[in-house]
Amino acid sequence: MLETIPRAIIPTDNGGSSSILALIRHLNFAIRPRSGARLARSIRPGGRLIRFENVGLRYGTGPEVLRDVSFAIEKGSFQFLTGPSGAGKSSLLRLLFLSQRPTRGLITLFGHDVSGLKPDTVADVRRQIGIVFQDFRLLDHMTTYDNVALPLRILGRDERTYRPEVIELLQWVGLGERMHALPPVLSGGEKQRVAIARALIRRPELLLADEPTGNVDPPLAKRLLHLFTELHKSGTAVMIATHDLSLMEQFDARRLVLNEGRLYDD
């Protein structure tokens, strides 16, 4: 069923080039065999989205979960973040979308030093980041459609202006039929796809995904990974936290390994 949905979508000629519609059109094209279509958005290499310098994090008075972590994420880059369970992958992602502040060290996000950011600036930074949570964090009282539309809705946009984007993305992730379903009745894999669609809908500059293939079978995992790599090719920086080795083997990319709180660039 998933294989057939993309082909059912016939690209139309409305919507800006940076909207999700442009990406889906590109994806539909790229998925077909012998397609020559390439990047929808040019990558400007060398720009730094994120910089960590000697970052340390501890929860309360506990031990340091992260120690002397230093790395950078370039514009349009792709990396896996891996390491054993409890190594601090989710904690590192939490630092990246500002739900945790470091206990020491320096973090620069989109040119902002994260210490002492004003709440509205935090919101602005988050608008450039798409996040897929390990536990999805969908709103149970909202339909699949409303959940995916939420990042556009909070921008104050009129519902009619984004309806085609949301519907097309939902169809692309194979949830066209489940648009009106509430999350509690969705399967784990369906919820995962809703979470991914919500993270993608604004075509963020940076996509963070925490175990995005944790609840799906290998073929669907492969398909979702394909979605992320195509998103990356279209210019989005991607960071996927996973301990799924087979997933990492499918795409040759930088691996950041966390072990006992320290980060190793593989």
Partner: protein, 323 residues
């Protein structure tokens, strides 16, 4: 299906699907479910508070109306009392004083109260059917102060003392001052009650907002993560409180206005209430003037504004603690 008489043309499959899907999306779900933010209890509390505040505000205008009425009556009137004394004829002295008063500039309608009138005034103290002749009943003269000439009451006092040492002039200043003090007291007490009621409305809303926000903590977190500003989140909650306070305040305000309207068309409404038999006599008809109904409307508006602002401020404070 034809549009502008065009030929029937099958839609592409995807477009058809999309159109179908788009057609029944309908209103987006509220970001925070209404039932989790404000409930019937809060609306009832707001209604009761508004009712109390509206009754207070309207009563203040009633008392204000009544006292200005009395005071303007009192201020335009003087009374001269001629006490009986040994070896003098009260009636003759009263007549003498009446002549002085009649010739005094600024006074009009000088009138000597008859023995019956004086007797009636004494009835509440001395009882009915008295032999007035056996008592040293004072003579009483009333006069109206003219609207065009202001009389010099001090020189009248001096003139009276010279003619009849026992005559005393009462320009009701003491009464007027006491009335004014009482009306100020009612105004102050009413304002205090109003303030307390509005403050407890604000407090109830603050408590309700706090629990609404923490009850919807997961939603607030997700809204933050997708980049919603605090002002957006505050507006989401504030809308629910605006609606709840509108419902409650209107119900309370309408109930208060209805109570006064019923009182106005039921003349002895108050005398039916035990222990208030004299109230109607004191403040006249319990007739709320347009200003009173305006007061009720202002109270309704204030409750809505206070509730909405209190909710907004509280949401801001509470969500800062969540992030």
């Amino acid at each position: 299906m034809t549009i502008n008489g065009a030929q029937k043309k099958p839609l592409p499959k995807g477009a058809m699907q999309r159109r179908l899907a788009a057609s029944n999306i309908g209103e987006p779900a509220p970001i925070v479910p209404a039932g989790t933010v404000t409930g019937r209890a809060l609306i009832t509390v707001i209604a009761i508070m508004t009712f109390l505040a509206a009754i207070t505000a309207a009563s203040i205008t009633l008392v204000q109306d009544a006292t200005t009425h009395w005071r303007s009556d009192l201020a335009r009137e003087i009374t001269i009392q001629i006490r009986a004394r040994e070896g003098a004829n009260v009636a003759a002295e009263t007549a003498k004083v009446a002549v002085v008063a009649n010739n005094f500039p600024g006074l009009a309608d000088v009138r000597i109260l008859s023995a019956q009138e004086t007797g009636r005034m004494l009835e509440p103290w001395l009882g009915r059917g008295l032999e007035l002749d056996t008592l040293p009943v004072p003579g009483i003269i009333v006069a109206r102060i003219r609207d065009d000439v202001e009389p010099d009451l001090d020189s009248l006092r001096v003139a009276l003392k010279k003619e009849v040492p026992n005559a005393s002039l009462d320009d009701h200043r003491g009464w007027s001052a006491r009335l004014s003090a009482m009306s100020d007291g009612v105004l102050f007490g009413g304002a205090l009650v109003l303030l307390l009621v509005l403050a407890s409305t604000a407090l109830s809303v603050i408590f309700a907002t706090r629990s609404a926000v923490s009850g919807n903590r997961a939603i607030v977190e997700v809204l933050h993560f997708v980049g919603a500003r605090d002002s957006f989140i505050a507006t989401v909650f504030q809308k629910h409180f605006l609606i709840a306070s509108l419902k409650g305040a209107l119900a309370g305000g309408i109930a208060a206005a209805a109570l006064f309207a019923i009182a106005a068309i039921t003349p002895d409404f108050l005398s039916k209430v035990p222990g208030t038999g004299n109230t109607a006599a004191l403040i006249g008809q319990l007739m709320l003037q347009p200003a009173g109904y305006m007061g009720i409307a202002v109270v309704v508006l204030m409750v809505v504004i206070i509730a909405t602002v209190a909710a907004r401020v509280t949401v801001f404070r509470t969500i800062r603690s969540i992030d």
